[in-house]
């Protein structure tokens, strides 16, 4: 299934940060912390959405990029997280802080249920199982919503933390930042362990991995459960950020968005997931701003202006096609190549090779 030259988990991703990388990480962390102080409330809100998306993007990359399991179920798991919050915090009136872990556990359980057939089905058939999961979950959510008579969806009111109500986008930004950082660190840790190497071995050749003594079924199931749990967390945070849970927020295009995040950002790369999440979340905003610069009054403009959503979709679809065709390593691949070419020009030391992880016993 895997071809050489296509993206792999690299040692740079697997081994911990080097001094330079540690410095870069520190800078990123500081920028992420002071960002809301500099940005307005709308851009802080977008920042929160991006950080929330990072959790989902990392989860999808873990499942598909690292373990090679193809899933169209992202929106379904987000819905499980979102509806868990809606039911517990809004319908039952219990605490959001209780709803959050329940959302994670519920999504993990659904992941376990869906993961079992994935042990029997491979490749394209798994695409279809997860597609079926998507339609089943969305149908149940829709039915529940109709049953409750909430056509417009469920309102999620901001919870309090240590007596402080998380009412502003800034508060929710910092909550998203903390949880996104935890999710990324957890995945980085997981990938450095035996589990991470087993995921990659399962992806590269599961029959061979089985011969080497790796319990393929157990690791596939583990990948499913971990990624579903993270998607559930992402869905719960999304519900809080949006202040609303409704079935329209979980259509198939949302699942595609979360696939596009690691395709565009970089398959089997945590840094790629982060960049891809930001890219896909902010693209519609950028497209809307750009359309504002097209001269008004022209027939082309009025046609495009009436179809902002579709213009965005065309650009989004074209980007997916271009990255799959021309840059399978994604934005992070482009970036690494740029850094390497600049580095090799500056010093005689030649490009630092990133070594593909071999299947290890």
């Amino acid at each position: 299934m895997h071809r050489s030259g296509a993206p792999t988990g690299t040692l740079a991703d697997r081994v911990g940060p080097r001094p330079l990388q540690a410095g870069a990480l520190a800078v990123i962390a500081i920028v992420a912390c002071v960002y809301p102080l500099l940005a307005g409330s709308y851009y802080t809100y977008l920042g929160g959405l991006t950080l929330t998306a990072v959790i989902g993007a990392v989860a999808m990359n873990l499942l598909t990029g690292y373990t090679g399991l193809i899933s169209f179920g992202a929106a379904a798991f987000l819905a499980v997280g979102g509806y868990a919050v809606a039911i517990i915090a809004t319908v039952w009136g219990l605490s959001f802080w209780l709803a959050l872990p329940v959302a994670v556990i519920a999504a993990a359980l659904v992941g376990l249920v869906v993961g079992v057939p994935s042990l029997r089905l491979r490749g394209l058939y798994m695409v279809l199982t997860t597609l079926a999961l998507h339609y089943i979950v969305i149908y149940l959510a829709d039915r529940y919503q109709r049953h409750e008579g909430k056509i417009g969806g469920f309102t999620i009111s901001p919870p309090s933390f240590l007596g402080h109500r998380l009412g502003s986008p800034t508060d929710r930004y910092y909550l998203s930042l903390a949880l996104a950082a935890l999710a990324v660190l957890y995945c980085a840790h997981l990938l450095r362990t035996r589990v991470g190497r087993a995921f990659i071995a399962v992806r590269d050749r599961d029959s061979a991995a089985a011969i080497l003594g790796i319990n393929v079924s157990a690791y596939k199931l583990a990948a499913f459960v971990v990624s579903s749990a993270l998607l559930g967390l992402c869905g719960a945070l999304q519900a809080l950020n949006a202040g609303n849970v409704t079935v329209e927020n979980y259509d198939l295009l949302v699942a595609v968005n979360f696939i596009a995040m690691f395709i565009i950002g970089g398959t089997a790369s945590l840094r790629g997931s982060v960049i891809g999440a930001a890219f896909v979340t902010l693209l519609p905003v950028a497209v809307r701003n750009l359309l504002g610069h097209v001269p008004a009054g022209t027939p082309l403009f009025s046609r495009l202006d009436a179809h902002v959503f579709d213009v965005n979709a065309v650009i989004f679809g074209l980007l997916i096609i271009l990255f799959v065709r021309l840059e399978p390593a994604g934005l992070i691949g482009l970036w690494d190549r740029l850094v390497r070419s600049v580095g090799s020009r500056g010093s005689a030391g030649g490009p630092r090779r990133s070594v593909a992880v071999q299947v290890e016993s």
């Binding site: 058939y125 695409v127 279809l128 096609i321």
Partner: protein, 292 residues
């Protein structure tokens, strides 16, 4: 009892549409071993192209029909030659995602070009109810769709068994390397397969729009529901498409008629899930062999 029979008969119309789209999925799978997520969109494109040539360019219906079908077939072949064939040997996932990108672009372009509004289908055939035994009714447009699907399947049978190109296509699907060594032009044969799949999808789109009396960009969702039909029959089996389409269409129609009209997607994909659990390769599909 009468209601049951009527629902069953209406399911035949839906089955005909699903069969025409699903056989395209099967042909594409046999040629390129992938699921083409953009395939359902060809139904939409065919309808709008026909509408444009008849309404905007004042062509007779027959000319518009031929033009629309030809352009759709060409479109399918071009998608293969430009986007898919260079990806031969790439990971499965990349290829599937690429077709998803194509689907998003085509869907959005259709909405931008044709304004995302429903157009009246310029149908020359008029709508007549036809009385059938037990006091049930099908319309002429529904019967036409069933007839077209039946004719298309007979033509496909003849094509794959008696034409040189059809036999080459089967050979190429079974073993591309051996086939190419026996003188089969693989890129040509695969491009024809993509064109043929698109043509069948376009026919489905047009007979569907003929019955609905409108051309709509939302028909792409119906095209996606033809997926389960192909999978239930066996994704590499052309023989399996008809039974697969009939099963899926019947389940969908009975579920929406007697349980919940909003359960279309769940009914079709749920049926597929159940069949896959019992027979992982569908009714007539062949087992995939995993070579280390």
């Amino acid at each position: 009892m009468h209601d049951l029979l009527q629902t069953a008969e209406s399911s035949l119309f839906l089955a005909a549409i699903y069969a025409l789209v699903a056989v395209g999925f099967v042909i594409l799978f046999r040629a390129s071993h992938l699921f083409n997520f953009a395939h359902g969109e060809i139904m939409v494109v065919a309808g709008y192209l026909l509408w444009t040539s008849v309404t905007r360019f004042s062509q007779p219906f027959g000319v518009g029909l031929l033009l629309s079908l030809a352009l759709c077939a060409l479109f399918g072949a071009i998608i293969y030659l430009v986007l898919l064939s260079p990806l031969a040997g790439a990971p499965l996932f990349s290829v599937v995602i690429l077709t998803l990108g194509v689907q998003i672009v085509v869907d959005a372009l259709v909405r931008i070009i044709w304004g995302g509004t429903v157009k009246i289908f310029p149908t020359p055939s008029s709508y007549h109810p036809v009385r059938l035994p037990f006091d049930t009714v099908l319309s002429t447009t529904q019967l036409l769709a069933i007839g077209v699907a039946a004719a298309a399947f007979i033509a496909l049978f003849l094509f794959f068994n008696f034409s040189r190109l059809g036999v080459h296509m089967r050979a190429a699907a079974e073993n591309p390397l051996l086939a190419s060594q026996s003188g089969v032009n693989i890129p040509l044969v695969f491009a024809v397969a993509w064109g043929l799949a698109a043509l069948l999808g376009a026919i489905a789109g047009i007979v569907y729009a003929n019955n609905a009396h409108v051309v709509s960009a939302d028909v792409g969702a119906l095209g996606l529901r033809a997926f389960p039909a192909g999978v239930v029959g066996g994704i590499d089996s052309i023989v399996g498409v008809m039974p697969g389409a009939i099963v899926v269409a019947f389940v969908e129609n009975f579920v929406t008629r007697y349980w919940d009209p909003a359960a279309k997607d769940v009914a079709t994909f749920g049926t597929m899930l159940v069949v896959l659990m019992i027979r992982p390769y569908g009714f007539f599909g062949s087992k995939e062999i995993d070579r280390v």
